[in-house]
């Protein structure tokens, strides 16, 4: 009776929220809120690294600055929030 339940995920019609992997979620979060962006300065484009972006996000959220996509960071990314980017672009 203690067999683990094997969940089947389905795609719900009309659902805007798509099932994403953790790294997909993190990447879209970091981009959406301005942590991971392409900065344009004097014609030079540089991509901020994901680790640096994660650290910046962790600092903003008052989390431990590990630069890793740890459980606490992932949980924070799933919380309901304001849509205004944390880092201005």
């Amino acid at each position: 009776w203690s067999h683990p339940i094997k969940s089947t995920f389905v795609t719900f019609p009309g659902d805007i929220i798509k099932n994403k992997t953790d790294s997909e979620l993190a990447e879209s979060y970091l981009k959406k809120f301005g942590y991971l962006n392409t900065e344009q300065r004097s014609g030079f484009q540089s991509m901020v690294s994901t680790g640096k972006a994660l650290k910046r996000m962790q600092r903003q959220m008052g989390l431990e600055e590990t630069g890793e996509l740890d459980k606490a960071t992932l949980e924070a990314m799933k919380q309901p929030r304001c849509g205004v980017p944390d880092v201005a672009n």
Binding site: F9, F12, D15, N19, Q60, C82, V84
Partner: protein
């Protein structure tokens, strides 16, 4: 705290806002109130004032929308992004948008304001007991007309207090049908509809026709969300259907099965596998007040804070206490400075020799009672922020305030005359007059103050009498405005309601009270002066007026001081 690059801020302190549309989740008056309280959070600690406009462009335009809602930042369905706002400036700058795929509440579950019934529009009390059974949602039990209702106290069986819950069978909002209820079935593009639909719209809002044929009559309104309805999915507005079958298994309550995000959902037909109809189950929802207070922070120039307890922290969390943190206060005061000057205080009652009203003393008598303050000629009507009442007497606009009155006469080039002493002209009256009107047929003057009224015929006075004698309920604390409606009929306003007085019979007509916002859409619900002047109806709130034409369209919003007093 953070401000936006360049410390973007408003270059004026009298900020205007406009609520462009409403969410179906809460009654419009609750939404109005949540936004007003959210602005108040900021006006309490800065010199900023916030005035609501009902048309035109305001500094802060507030709207609800779903997914792609007309700007480059689409919302994302239920949860996730709740709202966003733009920093101060022209155009979309300063505007605040709220995701209507969220369930908007006051943070602690459905807030259901009732209509009709006998509870004066009170909120539902959940749970409530009816015939020994406990109800946590509105119910149609005990009725044959399918209208959902609820108890407004814990025990309907004992208190018998109830009201009707939001339902498309009772009313609609927005649209062009003045809040009329849906008519089912109705025809739209040749098809017949038995329930509210999102067909024909790209914004996902549910609507219905308010006549049997939309194609012919073009009358419609949006459907309010029932408290039992699912949120989002593809069946918004429908209740859960229990039990329902999902992947061959029967469910008798909401489940998170099938989802990776743990959200509770239900089928809205008996078999999800066949019908694929579903929605999220109602939960505590998000506090519109808290989210709005945060968004208005952006609209005033604050960016996100990294202090977890600050209102401007980007994540939502529910708090019951005053939401501003020291960090928020420092941030907003960095932009606009601290609040200056004392809080406004209500006028103190003046000494009067008028005895407390006694209905037994109703008789026409010359009066000897007076207010005793002398007229101060330096009192300038143009320096007053608002008036106790404004009314037309003998064709001249009169402004009453705290024992004095001023008048504007077209015979006098529309300049202000006064101050005059109320006690000299109408000796029986108290200093503060809440409302007044002149009966056009008899030329009698009616004055209201608190729960009392007086009738002047020339120099003779009748009263004070209790307003209950007119048939007004004893719960009314004051009559705030009066509008002449045809011969011998006057509308009396108080709170969110109005009543029609038959002046000759001295009785309120049957069928009243009615909701002010249902009949007079677009004017403030909390107007403190309502009067008729030169064919227009005026609703005043603080120093502003909303002018409504005979077709009940607000055709002007302006300043009492500049437009009426000609200061």
């Amino acid at each position: 705290y953070q401000t936006f690059d360049g410390d973007l801020k408003w270059d004026h302190n009298d900020i205007t806002y406009r609520i462009v549309n409403y969410s179906p989740d809460m009654e419009s008056s609750l939404i109005d109130d949540a936004f007003a309280r959210a602005f108040n959070v900021w006006s309490q600690v800065t010199p900023l004032t916030f005035t609501r406009l009902f048309d035109g462009t305001a500094d802060i335009m507030i709207s609800f929308g779903k997914a792609d809602h007309g700007d480059p930042y689409p919302f994302d369905g239920k949860d996730g992004l709740l709202a966003h706002a733009y920093p101060p400036g022209e155009g979309v700058q300063g505007d605040a948008h709220f995701d209507d795929d969220e369930f908007w509440t006051l943070g602690k579950g459905p807030v259901v304001k009732t209509r009709y019934g006998n509870a004066n529009g009170a909120l539902c009390h959940f749970p409530f007991t009816f015939e020994g059974r406990s109800y946590t949602t509105c119910t149609t039990e005990g009725r044959t007309d399918n209208l959902p209702w609820c108890g407004t106290t814990a025990d309907y069986d004992k208190d018998k207090e109830y009201g009707f819950c939001p339902s498309e069978l009772l009313y609609t909002f927005g649209g062009n049908a003045d809040g009329a209820e849906c008519v089912f079935p109705f025809t739209f593009l040749g098809e017949e509809y038995d329930s509210c639909t999102t067909e024909g719209r790209s914004d996902g809002y549910r609507w219905c026709a308010t006549t049997s044929n939309f194609d012919k009559d073009k009358k419609f309104g949006f459907c309010p969300t029932r408290d039992t309805a699912v949120i989002g999915g593809n069946s918004e507005g429908e209740p859960c259907h229990f039990p329902f079958v999902f992947l061959g298994k029967k469910y008798s309550s909401c489940t998170s099965e099938g989802r990776g995000d743990g959200k509770l959902w239900c089928g809205t037909t008996d078999n999800y596998d066949d019908d694929k109809k579903w929605g999220f189950c109602p939960d505590k929802g998000y506090s519109l007040f808290l989210v709005a207070a945060h968004e208005f922070g952006h609209a005033l120039g604050l960016d996100h804070s990294n202090i977890r307890d600050a209102l401007m922290y980007p994540m939502y969390s529910y708090v019951e206490k005053f939401p501003l943190h020291k960090d928020d206060i420092e941030g907003i005061q960095y932009l606009y400075g601290p609040k200056t000057g004392p809080d406004p205080t209500p006028p103190q009652p003046r000494t009067t020799t008028t005895p407390f009203p006694d209905d037994k003393s109703e008789a026409t008598k010359p009066t000897t009672t007076t207010t005793t303050s002398p007229v101060d000629p330096t009192k300038d009507a143009c320096k007053l922020g608002s008036f106790d009442t404004i009314t037309v007497i003998e064709g001249e606009l009169h402004f009453f305030k705290d024992g004095h009155y001023w008048k504007i006469s077209s015979r006098n080039g529309e300049s202000v005359m006064g101050p005059f002493s109320i006690s000299e002209r109408w000796p029986a009256l108290p200093a503060v007059i809440d409302s007044a009107f002149e009966d056009l047929q008899t030329k009698k003057m009616y004055f209201f103050s608190g729960a009392r009224f007086w009738v002047y015929t020339g120099k003779n006075v009748l009263g004070p009498r209790s307003i209950e004698k007119l048939g007004l309920p004893n719960t009314i604390q004051k009559v705030e405005g009066a509008l002449q409606r045809g011969k011998g009929k006057v509308l009396l306003f108080s709170g969110e309601n109005f009543w029609r007085l038959d002046v000759k019979a001295q009785k309120i007509d049957a069928g009243y009270p009615r909701y002010t916002d249902v009949v007079f859409g677009g004017v403030p619900n909390d107007a403190h002066d309502v009067f008729q002047y030169k064919g227009h109806m005026y609703f005043c709130r603080e120093r502003f007026y909303w002018r409504m034409n005979s077709r009940r369209q607000v055709d002007r919003v302006g300043y009492v001081k500049y437009d009426l007093l000609k200061c």
